[in-house]
Amino acid sequence: MAPIPGAGLAKGLAVTLRTMTKKTVTAQYPEVRPDLPPRTRGVIGLFEENCTVCMLCARECPDWCIYIDSHKETVPAATPGGRERSRNVLDRFAIDFALCMYCGICIEVCPFDALFWSPEFEYAETDIHELTHERDKLREWMWTVPAPPALDPAAEEPKELAAAHKAVEKLTAAQAEQAAQAETTEAEPRGEGES
């Protein structure tokens, strides 16, 4: 194949010499942190304020690695004479990362946005039992979750914002009306009182 005998040998030498002058690919991990993409699936964080103990995540988990305990509490009636409401209170939320296969189904299935992917990955333990991480640890990981990607420029306003805006508009309208009413009462002679 080679036109000159020994050309292949020279080529081999050239390859190794060229590799020597290039930058090495070794990652000096403990000293230098790896440069991970922001959406890396490192660990699952729990935003427990959003959790309603609906158990969907635990039931959808293919290898049953989510543990949830809860109890019911009653909330006093909001209005006088109303009915008191019951509410689920989370007692325990744990994920066994020795079993978890990082499929992300729990995150997909959560209807209340209580579970998120975090790029955090340094949670190795020396004992397999210690890989079951409880809610406090899962809540801590929530701080490492990156902000959601921005909406498209022409996108519809998010529902939460729309609702908030609506409430604000209502409130300002009510205040304006109240102010107007106060002005009219100011103009009339005093006597009828405060309301």
Partner: protein
């Protein structure tokens, strides 16, 4: 200067070189090999880029238990590492690094003979180890070593003889005194044959069939551990120093250089030796191991004819110019 003091000083210097240069080459091999493979190599030992890696290795080897297999020939087994290592120390004694009496451990009149003969003894260490280990793999490794020695000692001797013919002397400083720059193209084939044959005699990759780990574990050194094993490894690296030094002296003009001839000759010798040692490492990284029959074929059908042709060329040119 006082004679005894002079001798002691020379021996001491040669001994220090013998202990440090192989380690420097070993560390260079660690780093060069790593970078040629896109790695970093040792980074921790000693703090700065793993400079103390081989010291750490030495400490580890010294801590290990000294084991002699039950069926082994005890005395021979224990003696083998010394037989492998010491010849290189003796050869180092005869290699001149600069002009004059002061820059060589001991002027040997029959230098080329002495050096080649003693280097041949070094291989005996592997043979002894292979035979005495009472292990099939060791025996195979030892026999491969023997076959390799037989095949490659011949072209090595022939090319060294070619240089001796050109210089008209077998003394190493004498050869260098007679050296002219145009010897370089004249003896280039001999130089390559000598270097390749030397690599094979050191059992360096790509000629490391005697220790081919994928076939016979570690050849003659399979049963060795601890300090004795370290001595074998040290012998390999001391062998690189000696081979590079010898090639420099015989073929590359030793202390002769384009400039800085006065007083700086030893720098040229060391520089050339270092470059050759780098080439040894470079070849190791680049080429896969030859098969046992390919090794024999290379020696008998290529290197021996080439060295004979080199001798013929040397003879013809010598007759023409005189």
């Amino acid at each position: 200067m006082n004679d005894a003091l002079d001798v002691t000083l020379r021996l001491l210097v040669v001994f220090v070189v013998f202990l440090t240069f192989p380690l420097i080459i070993g560390q260079t091999e660690h780093k060069v090999m790593a970078h040629m493979q896109g790695r970093l190599g040792p980074m921790y030992a000693g703090g700065f880029h793993g400079w103390a890696q081989l010291v750490a290795d030495g400490v580890k080897f010294a801590q290990k238990e000294d084991i002699v297999p039950a069926g082994a020939d005890r005395r021979i087994f224990q003696l083998a590492p010394a037989v492998a290592l010491l010849p290189y120390l003796l050869v180092l004694l005869a290699i001149p690094i600069g002009p004059g009496e002061g820059a060589v451990g001991e002027v040997v009149d029959a230098g080329v003979f002495f050096v080649l003969a003693v280097m041949g003894v070094g291989v005996l260490g592997s043979l002894m180890a292979g035979w005495a280990s009472a292990n099939k793999f060791s025996l195979l490794g030892g026999l491969r070593t023997a076959a390799q020695l037989l095949a490659y000692e011949l072209p090595m001797l022939l090319t060294a003889a070619s240089v001796a013919m050109a210089a008209g002397t077998v003394s190493l400083p004498g050869i260098l005194d007679a050296f002219e720059w145009w010897w370089l193209p004249w003896q280039i084939v001999g130089a390559i044959v000598f270097f390749v044959a030397g690599l094979a005699e050191l059992q360096r990759p790509p000629f490391d069939m005697p220790v081919a780990d994928s076939e016979i574990i570690f050849g003659a050194y399979t049963e060795y551990t601890g300090l004795r094993f370290a001595l074998f490894l040290l012998a390999e690296y001391a062998g690189i120093v000696v081979l590079s030094g010898l090639t420099t002296v015989l073929f590359l003009g030793g202390w002769h250089g384009p400039w800085g001839a006065d007083g700086l000759g030893w720098v040229w010798t060391l520089l050339k030796t270092a470059v050759l040692a780098f080439v040894v490492i470079w070849l190791r990284v680049t080429y896969p191991r030859l098969r046992e029959d390919q090794l024999q074929k290379l020696a008998w059908t290529l290197l021996v004819p080439l060295s004979l042709a080199q001798i013929a060329l040397t003879g013809v040119v010598k007759v023409v110019i005189s």
